[in-house]
Amino acid sequence: MTSFVLAIDLSTYDMMWTETLTEIRSYFRHGDYPLAIRRTLDATFDSDNRTLIRRAITWGNTGHALLDNNKVPDENFIREGEDILVQLESSEAQKSPAYGIDFLQANQVQKTYTSGHFSLKPMDFTIKAGEVVGVVGENGNGKTTLLRILSGYLNQNAGELRYYFQENDMPHYYRVKNEVAFIPQRIPRWFGSLKDNLHFYASSNGFLGEENELMTDFMLARFGLTKFSNLTWNQLSSGYRTRFEIAKILLKRPKLLVLDEPLANLDINAQQTILNDLRVLSKSFRKPLAVVLSSQQLHEVEKIADKVLFLKNGQLLHTQTKEVEADTVIEIEIKNERVELENAMEGIHFQIKYNGGYYMVSSTNISSTDLVKLLFQKGIIVTYFRDISQSTKRFF
């Protein structure tokens, strides 16, 4: 298989505590208030300082209310945010020793349905704490099957799944379900108010009394759900339902969060928010979380994933975890005819595939930047361009 480079922004993953706070300050400076609020809340949560968490919740709710009313946060708000950051500086959070441990190892795991119409071929991979793993592939290629196996909802026919807490050959499945949280594509309907549900999940998972109140309020503030506290399922949009589901599931304090198509039915802003949240949550200083998510939104998933599993016909075609040398592959949409494109690339070793929407051009002897320059020089009118040399998109 042709090697390729998978571009992943790893710059924030190994951040130290002070760097995290610096990054939050930059959000304030540039007026990215929603992001600044969320990251500040995450940071206070990592500090484990309850007084500070409580203060940040109130502050965060004020910020959300201002933003919801299209108002720019005033000086007082920003000053209080800075004050919280100063306090966070003095209570430096220690990075969890759990970082990087193998939460789950899959050895030759495979699944064949009794009907025989589909089978997941044997596959090996590891999922580490603090890692985001994207599972991509076309519909019907086994993404959901794989996720259900990882979550302990579906049994594999052969091979072994070994969880970090497992002492015997057979894991304690109640613990698996307790430590691995699975959010299906179709979120099951729930009843009662949003806040009552969060309280219930918190107390069901050991947060009792005041701690329950604190955790629930934190999740509401963190996911911008405070103003929807008393709403029911019917009164929430798909995006908020997904946010609620993530907030709820985090109250389980899972070690592995598995999401099946969490971006489906979400608008682009909601997708970015959720993905960013997942990335940040997985890198929590004190409570790192392994996240596995499947999606059709390849570019968005690849932006946040540490590892991408590409499935085709039930087979794990490729696992990519670090940058490697790869051929140049770009996606372009042009106003010119195909012949003109081929003529423009004369003298270069290339391949062109047209998938009905745009051309996929691959080449072994020119970089993507040079290729685009060349096309402009030759008078090709490019209306869309994307470098997918490091993306699994090239396998589609």
């Binding site: 259900r148 499945y173 109640y174 009843f191 009662g192 107390s203 069901s204």
Partner: protein
């Protein structure tokens, strides 16, 4: 409501299982309904003669209300189930869950029993049981004498004998005795042998019915009552006025709106004898019969109480087990269990009826079934994935656990040919309940937790 809300909020934050079962509002609601019903029946229906007709209707209505209330409760229960979210649960939660559901369902299932309870309480508060027994027996005898001392009748009673079967009427007719067969044998129709009044008058049997004063013989010993009847009817019946007055006293005591009039029967203007109907009407024998019957129904003896209590208990217990299974099982497997149980029942009935098996064999087959279910359910501990068959076996081994000792006693009783198995059965019932409670704590709880958490 605020108070309930506060309690619920506290439970939500501290005891999610108790909160999710809605036990507090359920108990408060059921409690209020029960108190209202109790007060209503205590002060209205306890002694009213006409209530004998309304009483079963009330019980049916309350039974239906109870079913509706339980359905509403079940719908609310569907909303939250801590177990199926795989929270931080301990095995003992299963036991607690069982107790909570038992309480909740029991508090609603008891509604149809409340009229009886209230009436019993009202009746026994007003009069002592021995007093009512005595009055009831006296009223019965008086009513018999009244109806058979009509002036126009061509014969009179001289004697009454109690017989155990109808056939005795045909054989024991030589001593000019009136024979009253046992109630059960002739479905409360009484046959008398009448002594002829003169040589020209007809002698024979006549079916008599205490048309307007039908009520049970009494609370106490059936034989004892008939003995009294026998002795009383033999006594001088000429002092009818005294008897009427006595009857009047009893009416006044038990029939709330009795007007106190005591009048003799008459012959109407066409010469027809309407003595019987006049007596019935004037002395309100119908009302008295109804009232006495009510009183008799409501003065439940110890054995009656045991029957009612047992009925309520087992109804609640098995409803609870069914509900508990549903909450700890996938809906698909739960429904398969119901279907499988029905098919197994039909299959066993066919085999049993066609092969003419004895009781020991039937009990043994049931015991075999149970052990098979239990054994298969135990394999869940070693299973890597869950399947429907293990789920069905688990459900049945849990549901029928309280019956296991009863089955064993049945077999032992049959083998020893011991006719008096009451003690065995009572002990077995307690042992069965004990086994169930222990199992909900240490065995079946683990099986349910494990089965549900296994991958499919």
């Amino acid at each position: 409501m605020k108070f309930i809300h506060k309690i619920q909020h506290y439970l939500l934050l501290h005891h999610p299982l108790i909160w999710s079962t809605r036990i507090v509002p359920t108990l408060i609601f059921s409690g209020i309904v029960s108190v209202i019903l109790f007060v209503f029946f205590y002060f209205t229906a306890a002694t009213a003669g006409s209530a004998s007709y309304a009483f079963p209707a009330w019980v049916s209505f309350l039974g239906l209300s109870s079913v509706i209330a339980i359905i509403v409760y079940l719908i609310y229960l569907l909303r939250f189930n801590q177990f199926k979210h795989f929270g931080s649960l301990h095995w003992s939660q299963f036991f607690l869950h069982f107790l909570i559901l038992f309480l909740a369902l029991g508090s609603m299932i008891i509604w149809p029993f409340i009229p009886g309870l209230a009436a019993h309480a009202a009746t026994t508060t007003e009069h002592t049981i021995p007093e009512m027994e005595a009055d009831l027996e006296e009223a019965y005898i008086l009513a018999v004498q009244l109806e058979y001392t009509k002036e126009t009748m061509p014969y009179r009673m001289v004697n009454i004998q109690v017989s155990d079967s109808v056939s005795d009427i045909m054989t024991d007719d030589v001593n000019n005795h009136i024979i009253v067969p046992s109630e059960e044998d002739i479905q409360r129709e009484r046959y008398v042998k009448l002594e002829k009044k003169s040589e020209t008058e007809y002698i024979g049997y006549e079916q008599i019915s205490l048309l307007c004063a039908e009520f049970p013989y009494g609370l106490g010993d059936y034989e004892g009552l008939n003995e009294q009847l026998y002795q009383n009817v033999q006594a001088d019946i000429s002092n009818k006025e005294t008897k009427l007055a006595r009857l009047n006293d009893i009416f006044a005591k038990y029939i709330r709106y009795y007007d106190g009039n005591v009048r003799k029967g008459t012959i109407d203007i066409y010469g027809y004898d309407n003595t019987e109907s006049t007596i019935c009407t004037n002395y309100k024998l119908s009302e008295m019969g109804g009232a006495m019957q009510n009183i008799n129904d409501r003065i439940l003896s110890d054995s009656d109480w045991a029957v009612y209590l047992r009925f309520w208990f087992y109804l609640t217990l098995y409803s609870t087990l069914l509900l508990l299974i549903f909450r700890y099982m996938s809906p698909r497997t739960f429904l398969w269990t119901l279907l499988f149980t029905f098919l197994l029942f039909v299959f066993t009935m066919i085999i049993t009826l066609s092969s003419g098996l004895g009781e020991i064999s039937i009990f043994s087959v049931m015991m075999f079934y149970y052990l098979l279910f239990l054994g298969f359910a135990s394999t869940i501990f070693f299973s890597k994935s869950r399947n429907v068959f293990q789920g069905i076996a688990l459900n049945l081994s849990f549901f029928f656990l309280p019956l296991l000792p009863l089955l064993l006693s049945g077999i032992v009783c049959e083998i020893n040919d011991n006719g008096n198995c009451d003690t065995y059965i009572q002990v077995s019932e307690f042992v069965g309940i004990g086994l169930l409670l222990i199992s909900t704590l240490v065995f079946h709880s683990r099986l349910f937790y494990r089965w549900y958490s296994l991958p499919e």
